[in-house]
């Protein structure tokens, strides 16, 4: 049976007269990774902050593991871990002290504290920095410490608000390794927001949010299938007959210098074209549609960075 870790229905959040989130609904299945994809100011953080009990909703219903986020705040808080966009570690304390403090807040049994801290530090690979004051760590290290802290009380649902913003590509990749490792080991549900398309690709489900509304919600594969085409750049000695062929089968294309850019609706068409022209093809480049294309197709604009 499928259980939902997060259930949101008709959620609206207003700040004064500004509507940050406008009547959105979605569910996240237990043990999956769910991404909120959208430009800055689209309402991602507002949704996370409301789910994390920081903001109160204006309208709608939000539940985590069946508990209402406004009426059962304490139960919700016990179940969730959060890694915020900005650093919320205490810079003057060491990594270990920060984690211990967190364990005290979340009532981790005292006999388990040390063992759990060892476990999460191992997981994010900062065992050697446990005695270092947080302020002395690099941005990437801080981020890892932050993730470790979000996990040390073994949350059932983990919220990651732009977990890799401001990190170099290498560290970003590492952070993602941890997230996957974790999800496998603990079967936790992960809700993340991001404006990096590559990050959204690896999630089970993606919701595209813009101006406070969910404009698309599906698996990355389905989104790409639905909203993008495969682009194929062909260089052929029989340009004219290729163009004729494309016109006849009403496939969109665009001549580009000596090449022709073909927008193929599916894989069959790609293979068909290749097999028809295989003797004359001099060069070929095939690109699958990306979530960025999805985003552009849906919202009509590039994601703002």
């Amino acid at each position: 049976m499928i259980t939902n870790s997060i259930e949101v229905s008709n959620f609206t959040k207003k700040f004064g007269s500004f509507t940050a989130v406008d009547n959105i609904s979605f569910n996240v299945e237990e043990g999956t990774i769910f991404a909120f994809l959208g430009p800055n100011g689209a309402g991602k953080s507002t949704t996370i902050n409301t789910l994390c009990t920081i903001h109160d909703k204006t309208d709608g219903e939000l539940r985590i593991n069946g508990n209402d986020v406004t009426r059962q705040k304490d139960k919700v808080r016990n179940d969730i871990g959060i890694v915020f966009q900005e650093s919320t570690l205490d810079g003057k304390l060491t990594v270990e002290e920060n984690l211990k403090l967190h364990c005290d807040f979340y009532k981790v049994p005292k006999s388990e504290v040390k063992q759990r801290i060892d476990f999460v530090l191992e997981l994010v690979d900062i065992v050697n920095w446990r005695k270092a004051p947080v302020n002395s760590l690099s941005g990437g290290m801080k981020r890892r410490a932050e993730i470790a802290r979000g996990l040390v009380h073994f949350p059932k649902v983990l919220f990651l608000d732009e977990p890799t913003t401001g990190l170099d590509p290498q560290t970003r990749a590492n952070v993602w390794d941890y997230i996957h490792k974790l999800q496998k080991q603990k079967n936790i549900t992960i809700f993340l927001t991001t404006h990096y398309m590559e990050e959204a690709e690896i999630c089970n489900k993606v919701a595209v949010i813009d101006h406070g509304k969910i404009v698309a919600h599906d698996t990355p594969y389905n989104l790409k299938k639905k909203f993008t085409s495969t682009t194929m750049k062909l260089k052929t000695s029989r340009q004219d007959s290729l163009q004729n062929y494309l016109d006849n089968s009403s496939i969109k294309y665009k001549p580009d210098n000596e090449q022709i850019v073909v927008y193929a609706p599916d894989v069959e068409k790609v293979l068909e074209i290749i097999s028809c022209f295989k003797e004359s093809i001099e060069d070929i480049e095939i690109n699958k549609g990306t979530l960025n294309d999805v985003f552009i197709a849906i919202t009509g604009k590039e994601i703002r960075e």
Binding site: N78, L89, D90
Partner: protein, 276 residues
């Protein structure tokens, strides 16, 4: 229930102990206060039976008062560097946070007060152990009361520059209309209501009552010395003063927890890491 409070208290104390600069200034300022004020006000207390006890007790209470008020700034630091968010999403109630903050700020203030008392012993302060313990108890009371007030003001001010201003506005009149430095008898009659509404007045008088060994002094003399107060014929004795401080402490603490429960810290600007 106690664990998160203990954790917050411990954390604040660890932080202070790491902050060498602040630690140094905490001690340095205490010493400075002691020396400067004992020189400046020496003439004012000439003729008293225990001039050093009179002076030092005033300085001790002022230090405890100032420190507890100022320590509430911690919470603003937590808000501005983001740590507050971590506390707010934790399964910890707001009153637990408030109690933790108040207790830690009280401990620091009392610690500072005790240092002055110790320094004072070298300068002619004469107290015995029982007096010392009673004084420590009163210091705790004062610390709790004004840490609560400070936390209340901090949650209202929400920004450290505002807070400094508010603290100055609050502490200046409270200090000088309390009898700690300037004897209450020397203050114009027109300001009498302010003196009687000032919690510091009672704090100072109760504290002096102990420090000056006035257990056997007749009531009329206590009133004359500014230790007991004659409010339109009603005499407020030092014990009554202590009760008044407790009541005010409870009021301030309730106010502060109440305010803390409602404050929306999420709207406070926080520092963002990374480059964007």
């Amino acid at each position: 229930m106690i664990r998160p409070i203990k954790a917050i208290v411990l954390r604040n104390l660890i932080k202070l102990s790491r902050d060498k600069m602040r630690l140094f200034f905490t001690l340095f300022m205490s010493g400075l206060f002691l020396f400067i004020f004992s020189f400046v006000t020496r003439s004012a207390v000439a003729g008293l039976e225990h001039p050093m006890n009179y002076l030092i007790s005033g300085i001790v209470i002022m230090t405890v008062f100032q420190t507890s008020l100022n320590n509430s700034m911690n919470i603003l630091e937590d808000i501005s560097n983001g740590f507050m968010k971590e506390i707010l999403v934790a399964p910890v109630t707001r009153w637990q946070i408030a109690i933790g903050q108040v207790i830690s700020s009280m401990i620091v203030a009392v610690f500072q007060g005790i240092i002055i008392v110790l320094l004072g012993l070298f300068m002619g302060l004469k107290i015995d152990l029982i007096h010392g313990v009673t004084m420590a108890f009163l210091m705790c009371l004062v610390g709790l009361t004004f840490s609560s007030l400070g936390l209340y003001l901090a949650t209202v001010a929400k920004e450290s520059t505002n807070f400094q201003l508010v603290i100055t506005i609050v502490s200046f009149p409270l200090t000088f209309l309390s009898g700690a430095y300037i004897p209450t008898m020397a203050i114009p009659k027109i300001l009498a209501p302010v003196i009687y509404l000032n919690p510091l007045t009672y704090t100072t008088s109760a504290f002096r009552y102990i420090a000056l060994h006035m257990e056997n002094v007749p009531v009329a003399d206590l009133v004359k010395a500014g230790i007991a107060f004659n409010v339109n014929g009603f005499i407020i004795m030092p014990l009554m003063s202590t009760l008044l401080i407790i009541v005010m402490g409870i009021i301030f603490f309730t106010l502060c927890v109440n305010r803390f429960n409602k404050a929306d810290f999420s709207r406070v600007k926080v520092f963002r890491h990374g480059h964007r």
